[in-house]
Amino acid sequence: MIGPIGLIRRIGPIKEMIMHAEKLKHDFEPKLVAFVCTWCTYAGADLAGTSRMQYPSNVRVLKFPCTGRIDPVFILRAFQKGADGILVSGCHPGDCHYMAGNFHARRRFATFRKLLEFIGVDLERLQFSWVSAAEGGKWVEVVTELTERVRSMGPMHEFKELELEECWSGKLDTAELKEAYEAIP
């Protein structure tokens, strides 16, 4: 069994795979996963509902107490399980229900984005945003935009294929990641 970092190494050059995705572009409905915090974005999405705003049905919402709880591994796994695009959204800076959780999340994702880039994931597929409980409209905007963007990028193959060989180890104690965490002050 190898951890996610090992997995990353083995993927190697995957840029070519993205190329032939073009063909599928039009009749393709992407799968989107949204990792959101309870206090702000989940409530914002609720507000979009109570206001009967309309948006594409591609998104599936996962609720977290705080963006601070969102482990990068979840994102990797979601990509593996067929997500074509991922949204991470929480409270605006300074508004965090837990004061600083979203701040830590931001730091962590800054490092994580580098990792993703390194393994060849197009960062356009991963969006971070702030949606407050009052921003039903913004939720709709963000989800719609991401859906359209990912739709035009086509499906994400690179991780799905790996699913066959890999099993998530649940351990994250490699030297590389440790180093990444050291970077978090």
């Binding site: 799968k31 996963v33 309870t38 989940y42 409530a43 999405a45 609720d46 979009a48 509902g49 109570t50 009967r52 705003m53 309309q54 948006y55 049905s57 599936r60 919402v61 996962l62 609720k63 977290f64 107490p65 705080c66 601070g68 709880r69 969102i70 482990d71 979840f74 796994r77 979601a78 399980k81 067929g82 997500a83 965090c96 229900h97 837990y98 004061m99 600083a100 959780g101 830590h104 999340a105 962590r108 709709v140 998530w168 649940g170 351990k171 994250l172 104690d173 990641l177 440790k178 965490y181 978090i184």
Partner: protein, 665 residues
């Protein structure tokens, strides 16, 4: 094998209009582990809830998914229902197919597919749910109030009146704080002593209040509901129980020329003293630094003259430990004094105003003492240098405040008002005198406040000049004030007899040290931070600690009192139950895996992570691991996401639960 029940709600037509609920129920039935699935018109109605309860019992369910509205709407409802049927409430999850589905999509096909997927994800999640027990923490119903200014006094009285015991700790020999020093108070101009002293006496006489004056907080242990607080009672050298407050000792003490800081050094006091005649308690203390006996072993007069034999030179500092359930911090503020560079202050000092070396340049509190009927001049406005009545007094606002280059960028909030008050008091006392005020803006946003300020100009003769002052210098017995009037764009020079500076309100010196003992946070200036500026303005982020008065930011008396009562109400809410019950969404550390890197401790916004020693039976230290104090943990999960060895887990949001949801994508 799990036995999950799935209940799909129509919400009248709110859901069923776009989602084919029957199809969802059919699909749900097929998910492995689902033992029962049905749909119903209104799940939250009584019959709906009964349907759920019955199914729990009849079908022997060990997990439930209600596919209906947002959990923010009815999660509690269904958890309660399940609980009444004997199921652990944390085995119930809601699939939000209304706000997140039927209301936001029009296409019936798409919406039905999405609803099915949402249900599937939550079924997978609920399989991983664990039974959780609400966490209960016992509550010691005794409150500690730190600081005996008006804020601390108000909070202590409110809590004590509610029947709970209060320990009030005050650093000075008497309670009263700044308000006891004031003359008359805006916006009504009632006499501060007259409204303050009755409250001070109430504190002293209240059966539910233990008063520790001349005392400080030494150490704080524990957490909400369960603090152990060590209080240091400094040696008073007078036995509180024996002293009758007769005052003979003070009258006879030969050391009479010690500047009295309560009077801003304008008056003198003996070495054995009470700060002011209305002090509570009315028991003197010996100022050991200035007492002849303590300096040279001679004198001893006070002991000889004291009838009850209360004077005790051998007294020592004493430590008292109190069990406390909640803490109200009310340590108030300090005025910036314009001398050179004040120690520990961000302020750089005002050389252009003479660094406080011109004797008739005073601060606002000194003016209060001059104007106070019980002050060193008996309420006459006389200037410190030669005791003459000043005919021209210039007031400068915003000294230190709103001057980022001097170190402070905030507005001190009270000085516009007290300066207006000072011009009035001056006019009342020196009828033919003239008051001038240099100001930038008049910040008077309180009830009756702006009217008050206008009155000082329109009825009380004050001349307000919009503009700042560049320099003050002594010229003969006058102080030349070099200012400008920015409306006219010309320089203004006034030869004043006295200048009063509205200096900045700052936190107490050492406020940061107390905060560190309490584990509460403070801002860059050392003002204590509230948990949320708008919605939790009297609570600290640290559970069980509350704020009142000017220690949180500049405040006048009405604000301080309101906040004190609010803090008291919060304490009483906490004390209303014997045990503190809270959602069991807290983090737990797995001792085996923890590698003691303490990233979790670093990132925890609540300071909930502690270091725990693990010992074998012989008491040998095996290792140190992280430990999350469930009373303190806020349940954000940041620690879990940060832990490199996956040793800490947030109940209700475990990796398993989340991964299960993702697997079901």
């Amino acid at each position: 094998m799990s036995r999950i029940g799935v209940f799909i709600c129509h919400c009248g037509e709110n859901i069923s209009r776009t989602v084919d609920v029957e199809r969802v129920a059919k699909a749900a039935e097929k998910i492995s582990g689902v033992a029962y699935a049905c749909e119903y018109k209104y799940m939250c109605s009584d019959p709906g809830q009964n349907l759920l309860k019955k199914a729990v019992i009849d079908q022997n369910l060990d997990g439930i998914v209600v596919a209906a509205c947002s959990p923010r709407m009815h999660e509690k409802t269904f958890r309660k229902a399940a609980q009444s049927a004997g199921l652990n409430p944390y085995l119930v999850e809601m699939a939000n197919i209304r706000e997140h589905c039927s209301w936001v999509h029009e296409d019936r096909e798409e919406a039905t597919t999405k609803a099915t997927e949402i249900v599937t994800m939550l079924v997978e999640r609920v399989k991983m749910n664990k039974k959780l027990q609400p966490i209960t923490v016992p509550v010691t119903k005794r409150a500690l109030v730190i600081g005996g200014g008006i804020a601390g006094i108000q909070a202590a009285l409110d809590i004590a009146d509610c029947g709970h015991h209060v320990v009030l700790v005050e650093r000075e020999p008497s309670i009263g704080g700044h308000m006891a020093q004031l003359s008359e108070t805006f916006p009504t101009l009632d006499c501060s002593q007259c409204i303050m002293t009755p409250k001070m006496v109430d504190v002293a006489n209240h059966p539910n209040i233990t008063l520790h004056t001349y005392s400080e907080i030494e150490n704080v242990d524990g957490y909400i509901g369960n603090f152990q607080v060590t209080i240091k009672k400094k040696a008073r050298s007078v036995d509180m129980d024996k002293c009758t407050g007769c005052g003979v000792c003070m009258a006879k003490c030969p050391q009479k020329k010690i500047p009295n800081s309560f009077d801003k050094d304008l008056g003198m006091r003996p070495a054995i003293y009470v700060p002011f005649p209305q002090a509570v308690p009315n028991t003197p203390v010996i100022d050991r630094e200035n007492c002849t006996y303590f300096k040279s072993g001679k004198c001893g007069v006070c002991q000889k003259v004291c009838g009850p034999g209360a004077v005790d030179y051998t007294q020592e500092d004493q430590l008292v430990v109190e069990d406390i359930g909640a803490i109200v911090v009310a340590t108030g503020f300090e005025l910036y004094s314009i001398g050179e560079k004040p120690k520990g202050s961000a302020i750089k000092g005002y050389g252009e105003f003479g660094h406080g070396k011109i004797p008739d340049v005073i601060d606002g509190m000194t003016f209060e003492r001059l104007a106070s009927a019980s002050g060193p001049t008996g309420g006459k406005i006389l200037r410190p240098s030669d005791g003459k009545e000043p005919q021209q007094v210039v007031f400068l606002q915003c000294v230190g405040s709103r001057a980022r280059e001097k170190g402070i960028s905030y507005c001190s909030k009270i000085c516009c008002m007290y300066t207006a008050k000072h011009t009035m008091l001056y006019h009342h006392k020196v009828h033919d005198g003239q008051a001038y005020v240099f100001f930038m803006d008049a910040r008077t946003p309180g009830k009756g406040y702006d009217e008050f300020w206008r009155r000082s100009i329109e009825d009380e003769n004050a001349v307000y000049i919009r503009g700042a002052v560049s320099r003050l210098y002594q010229k003969g017995d006058k102080i030349v004030v070099m200012g400008s009037d920015i409306a006219l764009g010309i320089q203004v020079e006034i030869e004043a007899d006295m200048v009063v500076l509205a200096t900045a309100v700052q936190p107490r010196q050492g406020a940061d040290l107390l905060a560190q003992k309490l584990g509460i946070s403070y801002d860059m200036y050392n003002f204590y931070s509230e948990a949320h500026a708008k919605l939790r303005p009297v609570e600290c982020a640290t559970a069980g600690v509350y704020l009142a008065g000017a220690c949180q930011g500049p405040k006048d008396i009405p604000d301080s009192v309101s906040q004190a009562s609010a803090a008291a109400a919060k304490v009483m809410t906490l004390f209303a139950k014997d045990e503190l019950e809270r959602e069991p969404i807290v983090a737990k550390v797995n001792d085996k895996n923890c590698v003691a890197c303490f990233y979790c401790k670093k990132v925890c916004p609540y300071g909930a992570v502690e270091e725990k020693e693990i010992r074998d039976r012989q008491g040998n230290l095996i290792k140190v691991v992280a430990w999350v104090n469930p009373g303190v943990c806020g349940g954000c999960g940041t620690c879990q996401a940060s832990c490199p060895s996956k040793s800490v887990e947030l109940d209700g949001y475990t990796d398993e639960q989340i991964m299960a949801q993702i697997e079901a994508l």
